[in-house]
């Protein structure tokens, strides 16, 4: 079954005709060609597909596109500010929070969602906010530091 939906992604309004069984992840990657959001497990366990939906970090593989009807989505492609890397992105580079990069988009979105809600998180709150985002390369410490640094700079 097909349906019409309106969705705002990275500040841009879209009206799309999609299958009611389509996942938000596929809508972003296939219909909108926003391939920055990754699929690591497809069952909501790794966090690689994390995007921000109405201010909350969600696993986009676990959300149907139809559930996102009328919602505002932010993906990794929406993080840059005026064509420049945001502080969060810069701190990821400078802290060594990036290795293979596959978890990075999801990790950034969980971090951004946290900072939108809680601009001064404790280290424990940071760890908890990204606990659903698996990273097999870094050991996490550098990621937590990058988020901490971003919060302090504000």
């Amino acid at each position: 079954m097909l349906m019409y939906l309106s969705i705002k992604v990275n500040g841009k309004d879209h009206k799309l005709k999609v299958s009611t069984t389509k996942r938000l992840l596929d809508l972003l990657r296939e219909d909108l060609k926003l391939t920055g959001t990754k699929e690591g497990c497809g069952v909501g366990e790794c966090g690689a597909c994390t995007v921000i939906m109405d201010g909350k970090a969600v696993n986009s593989c676990m959300v149907l596109a139809s559930q996102a009807n009328g919602c505002e989505i932010i993906t990794v492609e929406g993080l840059e500010e005026n064509g420049e890397l945001s502080r969060l992105q810069k701190n990821f580079l400078e802290s060594g929070a990036v290795q293979c990069g596959f978890c990075t988009p999801g990790m950034l979105m969980s971090a951004k969602a946290l900072l939108m809600k809680n601009p001064n998180p404790t280290v424990e709150e940071i760890k908890e906010a990204i606990a659903g985002n698996l990273c097999r390369c870094t050991g996490y410490k550098q990621i937590v530091e990058a988020i901490e640094k971003t919060a302090k700079e504000k």
């Binding site: 690591g40 060594g96 990036v98 050991g139």
Partner: protein
């Protein structure tokens, strides 16, 4: 800029913006999706296979079985026992039988349900300790794939001495899943009558060789390009041969692009893992604690096919006795077949299993001698000029002693030991402990892989001074492209921004073997040093001719070039060389130092070694058996840290994988060999809430033959963490874990037995 600086990774901007293209991000027009139909049983004989009805499904473009393989129906790795698409029998659950090419992955999965197959089930052989000589035959007459031995001194004579103190035990280790975040994948298409493969992989030349045999095509018609790769850790060394062959057989027949991306459960169920192992050790020392003799028996569970097992077993056998000075050694390693998923390369490559055993038994010996485990290690650690178990003198880049001193000092080991003792006296239900491990790692492929050991680089400088470098080494997240850019920039005293490290493409660079064995930095580096050196020599000659005088040296620094009394801007020099037709393009091919290994396992097993020590603190809850990892000092001699930030990244990331192996990663198989842990909910890996306070420590004892003194070490951080962890648990509450992982159930059971 240059070597030794923590420059920002060259690939990180595209990674934080989502612009990197991994396999799943490539969409081509007319592209089909491949999906594999697999064996539902662990052991059986295929009586009938009929794909005709499935082929009729809407959206299905083709279904390919062994009958459709144009070349050999094998996936070449080392031995040729691995069948590409099963014909008569199946040896593990998930073994590939047919590949379906469909318009969407969903349609392929629907069609798979209509494939008709009759398999006569046979009893599977799952317990690897029962494999050798079992009536159930998987490989050859006795199910033994291979064996190695290391014999030094005279063990029989040595243990006759009745004054020697002996400890012996048997240790077991489990499967470990790589859990790279990007699942396996490849896209295959035709371009210029050449079959082009873009895949997530560590070893494009392996893939090219395997496809040459499967498709019966010339190598030059098979072009393999490594796509941005989302983690590998050994899991993308040889198995991309299988993945790429599956997508390739579809594209070969259908002449359209075919993409294949594994689902996570399929990936976990069918891709290689760390070999489970059993290690028996008898260690003998004198009353002062000096190790005098060691006997070791290492048994690896290889799974249904040999894949990389011979190479994995070689490393395990050679690393069993650790970085200690022991004159009498008798070690044998053996790998056997079972009806389980084939095991292969994983960071540490056969050594974490034996290091767990050795580092555990040293603590048993320390207890018996009433010595501190650190003191016992200290008096036995190799010193420069002493010999390893293969009789190899270690003197170049031998940082063991410095690593030991630094780690003990920085971790404040002895003072903390006292504090912990006090804490434990005061606390009834929580106990803390400190555990250590010391280890070494033979860098590179060693004697067992020397036929593949080459290094090469192509360096090209354009007229504007910018450079392109190609090496045969892949970037999978470890930072190779950054390190290669740094080493190239260093040669010309310029900024890394001028250097682009191109993607690996088998049509453009020579086969320099796989990106494994912590050989990336040294292999790429040797090629780069040689290629840039030749260009610099040519420029030197040109300048002498141009200026009509001899220059002792042409020196490159901070974007300037100095020769005699002259100084010139680097860009000006390149502009001049270009206009005067000096060739600024060089291809270098070189061989690393020779390795040897005789029938008794004696020789130069590896050309150089990395050295390490870990100190881990844990807190054990005596009421639940839960273990918290508090702090980890991880000290590594890396030769030269080309990029210290990335070195620390390898230390922390690798160490957490090792702690996961020791503490929680628990792959479960059913009694019939079916893998039960197929996703991250059941196979749990460390999260952001699990990592301890990491203190990564670097020692740089430069390797005289290495590029800028570098040698490589990236597997080592994983290798000694499990025993450091279990030794700290033992220190906390006096339980001896002979199996990992140290799950609460296991710890609690031992605590109850102790009572």
């Amino acid at each position: 800029m240059g070597v030794g600086k923590s420059v920002i990774r060259v690939d990180s901007v595209e990674k934080v913006t989502g612009r990197s293209k991994y396999v799943e991000d490539i969409y081509m027009s007319g592209m089909l999706h491949a999906y594999v139909f697999r064996s539902p049983v662990s052991h059986g004989v295929i009586k009938r296979l009929d794909v005709e009805k499935a082929k009729e499904c809407e959206g299905i473009h083709g279904i390919f079985t062994w009958k459709d393989v144009p070349g050999k129906n094998i996936i070449h790795v080392i031995y040729d026992d691995q069948i590409f698409l099963a014909k008569d029998r199946v040896l593990y659950q998930g073994q590939p039988i047919a590949v379906i090419a469909a318009k969407t992955p969903e349609k392929a999965r629907e069609a798979a349900k209509l494939i008709e197959i009759e398999i006569e089930k046979q009893t599977p052989l799952v317990d690897f300790e029962q494999s050798k000589g079992s009536d159930i035959k998987i490989y050859g007459d006795d199910n033994v794939f291979c064996s190695f031995k290391v014999k030094r001194g005279d063990i029989k004579e040595a243990i006759k001495n009745e004054d020697l103190i002996k400890v012996e035990d048997t240790y077991y280790t489990q499967h470990q899943e790589h859990a790279y975040l990007e699942p396996q994948g490849a896209i295959v298409y035709w371009e210029n009558d050449t079959l082009t493969i873009r895949g997530s992989m560590q070893a494009p030349f392996y893939v090219q060789q395997a496809l040459t045999e499967v498709l019966n095509m010339k190598k030059s018609r098979i072009r393999v390009i490594q796509q941005t790769t989302g983690g590998a850790f050994g899991g993308k060394e040889d198995v991309p041969n299988i993945v790429c062959a599956q997508a390739a057989i579809c594209a070969y027949h259908l002449k359209v692009p075919v993409r294949m991306v594994y689902e996570r459960d399929e990936d976990m169920m069918t891709m290689s893992k760390r070999h489970p192992g059993r290690t028996k050790i008898s260690l003998y020392c004198d009353k002062n604690g000096f190790f005098k003799a060691i006997k070791g028996e290492y048994l690896e569970n290889a799974g249904a096919f040999s894949t990389l097992t011979p190479a994995v077993l070689y490393r395990g056998t050679v690393h069993l006795t650790g970085p200690y000075n022991i004159d009498n050694v008798d070690v044998i390693g053996e790998a056997v077949a079972t009806n389980t998923v084939p095991n292969g390369a994983y960071r540490g490559f056969g050594s974490p299993q034996v290091i767990f055993a050795m580092e555990s038994i040293i603590d048993t010996m320390a207890k018996k001698l009433n010595m501190d485990p650190v003191r016992l290690r200290e008096i036995n650690l190799l010193k420069p000029g002493e010999k390893t178990c293969t009789g190899q003198i270690v003197d170049d880049s031998m940082g063991m002693q410095e690593v030991f001193k630094k780690c003990v000092k920085e971790s404040d080991y002895f003072k903390r030991k006292e504090e912990i003792e006090k804490y434990n006296e005061e606390n009834e239900f929580y106990k803390r402990g400190l555990g250590v491990s010391t280890l070494y790692y033979g860098v590179g492929l060693g004697a067992a892989g020397k036929h593949m050991s080459r290094c090469a680089a192509v360096v090209k400088i354009d007229g504007d001074g910018s450079m392109t470098v190609s090496v045969g080494i892949t970037e999978m997240g470890q930072g190779l492209r950054t390190v290669a850019a740094q080493m190239t920039a260093e040669a010309f005293g310029v900024d890394e921004d001028l250097v682009v490290v191109s993607e690996i493409d088998t049509s453009r660079i020579m086969d320099t073997g796989p990106t494994v064995a912590s050989r990336g930095t040294i292999t790429a580096g040797w090629g780069i040093v040689q290629a840039t050196g030749r260009i610099k020599k040519r420029i030197h000659k040109f300048l002498e001719k141009k200026y009509k005088e001899r220059f002792e040296d042409v020196h490159y620094r901070d974007g300037k070039v100095y020769f005699g009394k002259n100084e010139m801007d680097f860009h000006e020099l390149i502009d001049l060389c270009t206009s005067e037709k000096v060739r600024l393009h060089e291809t270098a091919l070189d061989m690393p130092p020779e390795c040897t290994f005789d029938d008794n396992g004696q020789g130069e097993a590896y050309f150089v070694y990395a050295w390490a020590m870990n100190v881990v603190e844990t807190k054990v809850n005596l009421l639940t058996g839960e273990v918290d990892i508090i702090k980890a000092h991880c000290c590594h001699d890396v030769g030269k840290a080309v990029n210290p930030r990335e070195v620390k990244g390898q230390i922390m990331g690798g160490s957490l994988q090792g702690l996961g192996y020791g503490l929680m990663e628990n792959m479960q198989l059913s009694s019939s060999g079916s893998l039960l842990t197929r996703n991250f909910s059941t196979y749990t890996i460390p999260t952001s809430c699990d990592y301890p306070e990491f203190i990564p420590l670097i020692v740089e004892s430069e390797y005289s033959k290495g590029p800028y003194g570098a040698k490589g070490f990236a597997e080592q951080p994983l290798m000694g963490m499990a025993p450091a962890l279990t030794n700290s648990i033992r220190d906390a509450c006096d339980i001896h874990l002979k199996n990992i992982p140290a799950t609460p159930e296991r710890v609690y059971k031992l605590l109850m037995e102790e009572k």
